[in-house]
Subunit: 282 residues, 2 copies
Amino acid sequence: MPFLESKMRAVRKLLVLTELLFVSTISLAFSSPNDAYPTGYGDEPGSCVGASDDLRPLRREVYEDGQIFDITHQFNPNTPMGDSDEGIGQFLTLLSSMKNGSDYNFSELRLGVHAGTHVDAPGHMYEEYFDAGFDVDSLDLRVLNGPALLVDVPRDKNLTADAMQSLHIPKGVKRVLFRTLNTDRRLMWKKAFDTSYVGFMKDGAQWLVDNTDIKLVGIDYLSVAAFDDLLPAHHVFLKSREIILVEGLKLDDIEAGLYTVHCLPLRLLGAEGSPIRCILIK
Amino acid sequence: MPFLESKMRAVRKLLVLTELLFVSTISLAFSSPNDAYPTGYGDEPGSCVGASDDLRPLRREVYEDGQIFDITHQFNPNTPMGDSDEGIGQFLTLLSSMKNGSDYNFSELRLGVHAGTHVDAPGHMYEEYFDAGFDVDSLDLRVLNGPALLVDVPRDKNLTADAMQSLHIPKGVKRVLFRTLNTDRRLMWKKAFDTSYVGFMKDGAQWLVDNTDIKLVGIDYLSVAAFDDLLPAHHVFLKSREIILVEGLKLDDIEAGLYTVHCLPLRLLGAEGSPIRCILIK
């Protein structure tokens, strides 16, 4: 099916319209300066001006005054992982190296699927779902992409039913990213797993399931569930196999409010979790 | 910053508007039935009706008549990887298993970063860029997200300057996914690396760089570059560090035309490539 001239003219029109709509929506919707949203890995724009000329990469987490926000933590040796004091350690091995005469560099990745920013599939905590194949490849892309609310959980409360009720999350809202004390404490920047993180108690999870339409729950540490309710709160969320849990999100320095979220896990057959890249578009 | 009632009322309004716009845009824009776009992994909707009730996951690659298309190949032991006859083999290890008394399942992923559907960073084939840190974490999310054209390359031509010229890609188009004979031959479903794939010759790559505004090049086998021009064609694309190469895309059974692409690699510090999840939204 070669592309015909006439098709291309129609496509060109559509394209111009789409790009215009895209750009104007973005610039109207958001006006905060980059400075308000510094990155967390020591690669702030100010420290890297002219980076390309100096052969230094510019690591960005906020694009063009809030067009795109990267809400994913970088994987590096200090990236935390549940039950580990040492973080993920060496997660890359250079199998073919140009320094050793290879034509190209080629690395192998080795990573716990619940390290850093990641997604849980139903098989993570339900053995019958694991056996039946409810892996990350079976997660619903319609849930992982669409309008999402970033909300602040009152810092003086745990993620209980009471705290959830106080947020007044409207019916119809399908995706909520919960920012908590974990963000203030920068727990995701500490390589040792910290069991004092804030997470859902069983009753908080149950309240959401019973009283809202939420299908995507995002949280700012490695587990949606508080350490004391690790199993019960996970079980409440995962039981229906309709709720997707995204853990370890980087939610600092972004205004609470409505965005479009895109959270894309790897298509790993048989895996009960996956590292994920998540972005917000304003 | 607890969420206030007044804020929530405003957000609720916005949300309803956004969801309405989202849904109506999608349903207007596309009307093809699911049947036209079967999946490739033996999990067609027809074979899995009532899947949830039978405790069988429904693997989807097309959502609601073309709302979202998954253009990513699944990682399974037969997923192909460059220079291997055996595919990726065992890529998951269950470190903690509920069958063995653990409270949850927890797997480790082990994967070549250029296996299956993946992205190349400038450090893949330029040693100075590798040393300077131009890894997948430095790739521009603005390039990886936005309007994209899916085009069919004439099947009787290699990806030469001549073939590229014949496509009449308009100026302003930043992202193009090239569907080739590789898709017809279903090369990505063969676990052994097949050097007879179609890819860019050096002059085809150079023509695109010189005559178009393309910043994202997508292709339907493991390498954008033909085997005979493996290094030169990669070098042409990667030299400016502005063009992102997405390889191993699953482009079968989707109409050529304009979509919004979201391609999200992992944030792997120091990696010259990354497995990636890519979707098209109509």
